[in-house]
């Protein structure tokens, strides 16, 4: 007999009738992790530590998996993924790199707003006078192409979301547990999908939305897939008019002095300056269970 007493095992040894056969010899790793009991003479195996490799704890998901959770704390073997906080997850395209973050993370509950600048030239129709240009009167406006500038107010892009805990897996999978079902999609902080998974195709470069009520899953819509780290831009068309006020001149209309702006309603049409669509994301490899 090896004179090591594993106190928590004693009851079981007796109960199973094996007490006469076994000497309760824990593996070296267990001894390393053991603590001494009050007597200070015997190592006591702490059964709460993962010393017993046969215990079915954890899950079958491969290491480096990243997932959202509808729970308050990350499960055992997982830890919060700070770099994904305030972001949604987007599947990389092809062999694009992982861990690329785009945009500033959202604050809790934030509905991120944005605005656009307006910059263009518009054309003012002209009039002429029966006189000559000179420095006597500065009251008339110059016609032709003139600068127009402005801005929009700030509003959200209106994309709804749900906040869920985001965690990454640190522990190795327990191979005795059944795998996730075929067709399950899992993000990974890894350049390659683990064994039993292949890179998902339909989600590459796209933001994932939970399928709406009575809708068909798998439908793709919106813009083209995002390139690595891309901040997708958008703009708005707008139209308006500048209505001038008149400035009277003591000259008849004619052909001597030309190029003065006509007193009129001058319409314009322009696109706003492009701005990012402001939905921050982290790109990770998206894998599908075979």
């Amino acid at each position: 007999m090896i004179p090591v007493a594993c106190s928590p095992l004693r009851g079981l040894l007796i109960a199973t009738g094996l007490s006469g056969l076994l000497s309760c010899n824990p593996p070296a790793s267990a001894i390393d992790a053991a603590t001494m009991d009050d007597g200070g003479s015997e190592p006591v195996v702490d059964l709460a530590t993962p010393l017993d490799l046969n215990a079915p704890v954890g899950d079958s998901l491969p290491k480096l998996a990243v997932a959202f959770f509808q729970r308050k704390d990350c499960p055992k073997g997982w830890q919060p993924l700070a770099m994904a906080a305030g972001r949604t997850l987007v599947a990389t395209v092809g062999s694009d790199p992982i861990d690329i973050a785009s945009g500033e993370p959202l604050m809790e509950g934030e509905d991120r707003a944005h605005g656009h600048a307006v910059m263009t030239n518009f054309n003012l129709s002209t009039v002429s006078y029966a006189g000559i240009a000179g420095e006597a009167n500065h009251g008339l406006a110059r016609g032709g192409s003139q600068a127009l500038a402005g801005k929009t107010n700030s509003v959200p892009i209106g994309l709804p979301y749900v906040q869920l805990l985001v965690c990454s897996k640190l522990d190795e999978p327990d191979p005795r547990l059944r795998p996730v079902a075929k067709g399950t999609l899992v993000f990974f902080r890894s350049p390659d999908c683990p064994k039993g998974f292949v890179q998902a195709g339909g989600s590459q470069g796209r933001l994932i939305i939970g399928v709406p009520e009575l809708a068909t899953p798998g439908q793709k819509f919106g813009g083209l897939p995002l390139k690595s780290g891309e901040k997708r831009l958008h703009h708005h068309a707008l139209s308006g008019s500048i209505t001038t006020s008149s400035h009277g001149i003591a000259l008849a209309s004619g052909s001597g002095a030309s190029g003065y702006a006509k007193n009129d309603k001058h319409p314009y049409q322009v696109d706003t300056v492009d701005e990012p669509s402001s939905f921050p994301y982290l790109q990770l490899l998206h894998c599908q269970k075979e």
Partner: protein, 146 residues
């Protein structure tokens, strides 16, 4: 090595296995024995229309993106109105513009011909046309491990 010593080594794995069963069921860990931890969200491939056994439809993701948080108090909060089928949500802005029209001098006094515009700052305002975000989407079945 005596007969008794041989039995010691044969018996050890048996004991470890018995202990393992006991620990696994008594640990109170809700993930024990499951393919995924309870509460985990997983989307399914586009050709999958339902959740696997042991998973429920993630109603909280219906028509919504998912944003990660690391604070437990923030979990489950919904922001905005859910999207409908293939809805490419649009938004619009109000705007204000202005134009500073420079003068063009003329050798004449002010008078009665009002065909010309005054050199001044002019402003305009209105609403832009609605536009989508330009972002690409895919709608997938979301499932939560029970």
């Amino acid at each position: 090595m005596t007969f008794s010593d041989k039995w010691q080594w044969l018996g050890l794995p048996v004991l470890v296995g018995v202990l393992a069963l006991g620990i696994g069921t008594a640990s109170g860990d809700d993930t024990a024995g499951a393919e995924a931890p309870a509460g985990m969200l997983a989307f399914m491939a586009g050709d999958v229309a339902s959740c696997p056994p042991g998973w429920r439809i993630a109603q909280e993701t219906t028509g919504r993106l998912v944003v990660g948080v690391t604070s437990s108090d923030a979990v489950g909060k919904l922001i905005g109105t859910a999207l409908t089928n293939q809805e490419d949500r649009t938004h619009q802005h109000s705007f204000q513009t202005s134009a500073d029209l420079p003068y063009k001098s003329i050798s004449a006094a002010n008078g009665g011909n009002g065909q010309g515009a005054s050199a001044a700052r002019y402003t305009d305002s209105g609403n832009t046309e609605p536009a989508p975000s330009g972002l690409p989407f895919v709608q997938l079945v979301g499932c939560v491990k029970q």
